[in-house]
Symmetry: C2
Subunit: 344 residues, 2 copies
DNA sequence: GAAGGTAATGTAAGCGCTTACATTTTATCA
DNA sequence: TGATAAAATGTAAGCGCTTACATTACCTTC
């Protein structure tokens, strides 16, 4: 020992160094690349580390190493099960690689999202995960200027240049719409979340129109009701469709939550699903299978998406190259809420 | 201008200072305590900041200021809606005060939780939010040694000394159990999540026993089935109760997810709820009101808890004092799944 | 056994910011 | 108007770590 007065404060690298009788450089090497240090030296240093209960100072490390081992994510909200699920997998994978998650949410508000992105960058996020492509070009410019690698999730669009790990929202909904049309439905309504600065919702709506066109029908026939995310808003939207377009035989919702709302409203109104009207969702979250009738929907591999996104970002940090976009497959879950169109 | 060669790299405080023709100290003051700087100087500096697109370097700031403005939280999992909801509110409130959330999850695993706590501290979390009291004393010692203020959420137990913002799990369940007993139930079963290192679940189970005792009944009569969190596991547990204790007239579950599982199993088995058997939940998440029959449960103010927890932690960082524990009220939501006990 | 190479360690220069303290400018008032 | 206080700004010393480069120790090899 060679101590001074009180051992009050937190030990630093230098304390460890002097205890182990080596230079700070050696201690640093011991901690960061142990094989570049002799065996007995290493043991001596590690012993000192334990004895002192040393742990590196984060700020100093970040400053000197120029990275924080922290990855940021900005999602619309954790209260939406799809994001909670994907993010959980994302965080788990990050943790497995020694990275930590910095999290912020935008409440589906573009301006708030921008603020949050800036905040995460200011907090030293080494890379960023963002949901969907839609965003002011200015933000992307900012990110590039700061050199923060960014990955898009939840969307995959071959027409876009940015790297994404996601699925083709439009194609997925188009596939489901084909099935709906195949059941004889022509008067289709769509309940959607706001499509402004939300390419996922917009793509899904487009998918329905695509299928109408394919079937030789007029895409303008599709009644669109835009409403915020929620069960209650889904109920209201259903009522609105019934009131304004009583001929409707199928309602396609851009997510399961709105669809469950529709189902509830149908029951309350005494409308039978699927005998009187069919309802479909999107996402395949837990309540989809729990609903009564069980909801026909599009299954999205949220967990896999989160996990892969994390892997991608970790790769970027290592190789400094963000690879190709990756499209994940979706799958139609045919359940009870979709049936043949009723006769007019 | 007074520049050298390429304006490639990220601008620093010094760049701003020389552009604005002031010292770095003044620039720093402009950014951190603007009122300590003259008006025109301030304007000149801010102009330079914008011109250069300057943003502070996180590591340097953290190192010099000895804080990161980052608050950590370790939760069991985001996939559980109660945590997603509470955390969402927590993060929103943090954001409102310029703090950022560092998030990790433990998957209900004590050892993983410890790792995550250490990781967040290593990433410079200024303070920590933890779920429940149960935890190795060693971890608390570590946190104290490192001087990281810690707040407990989701639990409130006057017998514990640590500061918490939560609710009294035991008392809440006791109250619900009283209502169950008042409906004539005596053969009560309890489906619970693992109670080891989970004082919330344990408290809820205890609450049932408390009520039994109050009613002059033997608390040992309560059949306990422990199973991991999930709808599927809830279903299984329900079957197990039916098989082993067919006299049971009420099943109290420690959370809504297990209860919904029980409800499903009941339907599959042709057991009517509540005519044949009553089922109760805990938490009051969305599916509780969506279930058929609607689930009688205990409403927990998750969002308020998250918000208050954030406020507390922010206070600590300012005043260096973590105040009194705060108990939040819960409320029994009487719905359809609880009814009178069937006659033997 | 001298030359040349490799492995282990040390030296010290930053990284970009905050802040205590020193200095200069401006305002106030007898 | 000069003394004095208050406000504005500057100077410079760290904060604790990483890492390029320099140095030393230790093997090989012919």
């Amino acid at each position: 020992m060679s101590q001074n007065e009180v051992e009050k404060s937190v030990p630093t690298l230098a304390d460890v160094a002097s205890l182990a009788n080596v230079s700070t450089a050696t201690v640093s090497r011991c901690l960061n690349s142990p094989d570049r240090v002799g065996k007995d030296t290493r043991e001596r240093v590690m012993k000192a580390v334990n004895e002192l209960g040393y742990a590196p100072n984060f700020g100093a490390q970040a400053l000197a190493a120029r990275q924080t081992n922290t990855i940021g994510a900005v999602i619309p909200t954790m209260e939406n099960a799809v994001f909670a699920r994907g993010l959980q997998a994302f965080q788990e994978e990050l943790g497995r690689h020694g990275k930590t998650l910095l999290l912020a949410s935008s409440a589906y508000d573009a301006e708030l999202e921008e603020q949050q992105i800036r905040a995460l960058v200011a907090r030293g996020a080494d890379a960023l995960l963002l949901i969907g492509y839609d965003r002011e070009p200015e933000i992307y410019r900012f990110l590039e200027k700061r050199g923060v690698p960014t990955l898009i999730a939840w969307s995959f669009n071959p027409a876009e240049t940015r790297t994404a790990v996601g699925f083709d929202n439009r194609a997925a909904m188009r596939a489901l719409a084909r099935d709906v049309i195949a059941q004889g439905h022509r008067n289709i309504a769509c309940i959607t979340a706001p499509t402004r600065s939300n390419d996922r919702a917009r793509g899904r709506v487009e998918g329905i129109r695509d299928a109408k066109i394919e079937a030789g029908q007029d895409p303008a026939e599709v009644m669109i009701v835009e409403t915020p995310y929620g069960i209650g808003t889904g109920e209201e939207a259903f009522r609105q469709v019934m009131a304004q377009a009583p001929d409707t035989t199928a309602i396609m919702c851009v997510n399961d939550v709105l669809a469950v709302g529709a189902l509830r409203a149908a029951r309350a109104l005494g409308v039978r699903v699927p005998e009187d009207i069919s309802v479909t969702g999107f996402d395949d979250i837990e309540i989809a299978a729990l609903a009564d009738p069980e909801l026909t929907t599009v299954h999205v591999p949220h967990r896999e998406m989160g996990r892969r996104a994390a892997q991608r970002l970790i790769e970027v940090l290592q190789n400094n190259v963000i690879g190709q976009s990756k499209e994940l497959p979706t799958e139609i879950k045919m359940r009870q809420s979709l049936g043949p169109a009723r006769k007019a």
